[in-house]
Subunit: 138 residues, 3 copies
């Protein structure tokens, strides 16, 4: 069985990190499947998926390390060529990855207690985002 759903988000960019756990859990519940995997995918090259403890300290720590890995305020060749200001966004998204796969069993995500599924909008402006949520299972 394959079920393909979408999540719609409004994001602020600049490493806006949004907790989408409730939406993903709801898609799994509505599928009425017992066990399988849910894949969350960002169609776009300036967004990423991962998990983290969703508390503001840890989110700020992650933002700071991303600022160090790919600083927003230095010249990027992507800028120089296209006049875009989001060269660092592309680098960060490629490093983090556009996809996350989470198993579920007895109809429930197998997340830890302090672990949330997050979408990172790494672009430099607010955007409407559409994420693909696809469920495979029995």
């Amino acid at each position: 069985m394959v079920i393909t759903e979408e999540i719609q988000l409004h994001t602020q960019g600049h490493t806006d990190i949004q907790d989408i756990t409730v939406q993903v859990a709801q898609a799994v519940a509505e599928s009425e499947l017992e066990a399988g995997i849910v894949t969350i995918f960002c169609p776009g090259s300036t967004g990423a998926l991962t998990t983290i403890e969703y508390e503001s300290g840890a989110l700020e720590d992650l933002r700071q390390v991303l600022d160090e890995i790919a600083p927003p305020d230095r010249p990027y060749r992507h800028h120089l060529r296209w006049g875009d200001d989001n060269g660092h966004s592309h680098v960060r998204a490629a490093l983090l990855g556009p996809s996350l796969t989470v198993p579920f069993a007895q109809g429930l995500l197998t997340l830890g207690k302090w672990q949330q599924i997050v979408f990172l909008d790494l672009d430099t402006r607010s955007r409407s985002r559409r994420l693909v949520v696809q469920i495979l299972g029995d």
Copy 2:
């Protein structure tokens, strides 16, 4: 067909990197499925999955780069807020990701000869860890 198993580990923390290839290969063999994917998932926000050549030099090199990306000995907002000493653990886990998906065919993992599946315990203390190993296939 979906089969959900678990792996139990005792880990030391501080980027303890453990080779779990044998346990994953065994779960695939016992499933008696011919082809499909196995997803290994860490329920928890201070662990991560990836592959590496499991030899002590490469493991030390990876630990050193993780120490540079998110140093253990600087202030993290997660520390300041909660008194936890594992702010760097959360950042590293979010960057590496909690999930790994490996295809298998003819009942065998499609790993390279010098490539092992590893769990990284990025926390700052020894822990008992439970990983989810879920197999989807025919």
Copy 3:
């Protein structure tokens, strides 16, 4: 339904980044499946998969950040022990990950318009690479 295919590539190493979107889309089309996931996996510990906008500026930006995270020209314990010159390759591959999962629906990959699937050869020499492309779906 599970279908296991392969992609053959000739790569130059030194973070050669190749666009494999057409080959993956073709494997999905030939499967004649309607919806599901395609997993692209690198059997080997010096290659990685991700997505990026495949234009030379963004590719150079990503290469530069990888050069900063794991510089090619410093001593690695993997070198010291085995005489290999690719310690940085192993570290980068472990950070980026060997696997990418992309959902498809109505027979089409759910990629964004400016988003391509890429293989990164992080090794230090030209190689023949075989990637596993496995499709699960209905």
